[in-house]
């Protein structure tokens, strides 16, 4: 395991330069390009704010940052998985030429996603600051472990999605459907309090994504340090997904080339 990570680190210049290239292509070397790529969550937030703040009787100051923080985190997790489906095909030519550790290709996807997520988080912070200010500035330090956990999760998800998609070519299609369903089952657009007392608490209680959202939302929106329970659940989820990814790599690393 540690020697594998050392091998990944050994070719850091390779994957890092590919990540930089991906970001450059994404943002087209300009601030406008950067804004363009953030257009989706911002446009969604604007329109949903307009519609739902009336429906839920919430003010824009309350609802807007809540929604954007949720959307941005959600887009990261779903985006890394769906893009992760292509990671080995994207790197196929390199894989056919050089026996570099395969984890570097999902890492490329995950790192690109994480950097984009960080940029989007800055927008969330700015919006929150504008609308309601920060109740407790030091609590923002909690974002550091949260982002680390999300990064490990994203890398692992990309590994799993990448392998699954090489073996079964409809993986991307299926995960898009899965994420669509999960999106509505997750309190992103609505407050989780909306489900309570309606016999739907279980939807939030057993939803693995909720604890991840709380890691981001709690410190930014309410100035609170997430509870031990939230951390525990999030760490458990990330650990399980990462173990699955490590097991998949150990089992299929050498065989992937036969399926490409």
């Amino acid at each position: 395991m540690s020697s594998y990570m050392a091998a990944v680190w050994h070719c850091r210049y390779f994957w890092w330069s590919l990540v930089k290239m991906d970001l450059r292509t994404r943002y087209r070397r300009s601030i406008i390009g950067l804004g363009w790529s953030l257009l989706h969550p911002i446009a969604m937030t604007t329109i949903l704010c307009f519609v739902f703040s009336n429906l839920f009787n919430a003010t824009v100051a309350e609802y807007g940052p809540y929604l954007l923080a949720g959307l941005v985190t959600w887009n990261y997790v779903s985006g890394v998985t769906i893009q992760g489906c292509q990671c080995f095909f994207q790197g196929e030519a390199y894989i056919r030429q050089h026996p570099a550790p395969l984890a570097v290709y999902p890492l490329r996807t995950a790192l690109g996603g994480t950097i984009h997520f960080l940029i989007a988080l800055v927008v969330v912070l700015a919006l929150t600051w504008y609308f309601r200010g920060f109740a407790n500035l030091p609590s923002l330090w909690c974002l550091v472990p949260a982002i680390t956990l999300l990064f490990v999760l994203g890398w692992s998800l990309a590994v799993l999605a990448g392998f699954a998609n090489v073996l079964f070519q409809d993986t991307q299609h299926l995960s898009e459907i899965g994420f669509q369903i999960l999106f509505y089952a997750t309190p992103i657009m609505y407050m989780s309090s909306l489900l309570e007392g309606r016999g739907m608490d279980w939807l939030v209680q057993y939803n693995p994504v909720v604890s991840l959202l709380q890691l981001i939302r709690e410190p930014i929106l309410y100035g609170r340090v997430p509870t031990v329970q939230t951390y525990g659940t999030a760490i458990l989820i990330v650990f399980l997904v990462a173990s699955a990814a490590a097991a998949t790599l150990a089992r299929l690393q050498r065989r992937l080339i036969f399926h490409l």
């Binding site: 390779f14 330069s17 196929e92 030519a93 030429q97 026996p99 070519q169 409809d170 080339i257």
Partner: protein, 251 residues
């Protein structure tokens, strides 16, 4: 000490007749228990070879004998499905080199990506990037995204990058026909220089004439098996004799 050792290494591809499948098809097959059997291709069978530092090895054989597969097995791209592979030394391989450029990135950027993949660092690349650019003779085109390159330009760039490093073990798969005539002459010269520097070379080619000049040891592969190992000239004459007698029989 550069060395390569294969101990009864076999490589069997299991090929699906219809290429990749979907999860849907997979589940249906599991339920019906009616999978189409995988086609087995025995690309290499119990290949035992041992090469030491200083040797120049040429691999010959008819199409589909497993020559390129053997090279990829040596490079570590394919793992042996049976047997053992042991390699000491830094490997550089010259095959499929024209594949895998990042289309949106410029020629310069692609030089770095390839270099880093081959184990270079930003510091070591600083000295190499200029000679690579000069050797490719692409000049101003290097500022352009690679997607606008012609096939010949891509091969030039790929060859220049791949041959810029000093490998201990060099694996070559018929790349000598790169670019236009002037560049081919240059490429041949570069190959000779590289071969002179490398400690161990394994080359695959159908050009028996140049193999005789380049290599001292020969391996004759046929249907994934080693037919003969020995001095290059002997292996080549045995191979050509068999091809000729085959033609006589066919006639």
């Amino acid at each position: 000490m550069a060395s390569i050792e294969l101990d009864k290494a076999s490589l069997t591809f299991r090929v699906r007749p219809a290429g990749r499948i979907t999860l849907k098809e997979f589940l249906i097959r599991q339920v019906r228990r009616s999978g189409t059997p995988l086609i087995k291709v025995r690309a290499l069978q119990e290949v035992s070879l041992s090469f030491q530092e200083g040797q120049r090895v040429g691999i010959i054989g008819p199409n589909g004998a497993g020559k390129s597969t053997l090279l990829k097995l040596l490079a570590g791209i394919y793992p042996p499905t049976r047997g053992r592979r042991h390699v000491d030394g830094r490997i550089s391989s010259l095959f499929d080199i024209a594949l895998g450029f990042e289309g949106d990135a410029s020629g310069w950027e692609n030089i770095s990506y390839r270099g880093y993949l081959q184990g270079e660092t930003p510091r070591s690349m600083r000295d190499k990037i200029k000679p690579i650019a000069e050797f490719s003779e692409l000049g101003e085109f290097l500022n352009m995204p690679v997607r606008y390159y012609s096939a010949g330009m891509m091969v030039r760039l790929a060859f220049s990058i791949a041959t810029a490093i000093e490998p201990e073990i060099l694996l070559v798969d018929e790349v000598l026909s790169v670019g236009d005539m002037a560049f081919q002459e240059k490429a041949r010269k570069r190959m000779r220089e590289m071969m002179a520097k490398a400690q161990l070379i394994v080359a695959v080619s159908h050009d028996l004439h140049s193999l005789t000049k380049l290599c001292d040891r020969g391996v004759w592969l046929d249907h994934g098996r080693v037919r003969l190992v020995g001095p290059m000239s002997e292996v080549i004459s045995a191979y050509t004799d068999s091809v000729k007698s085959g033609q006589v029989q066919a006639a």
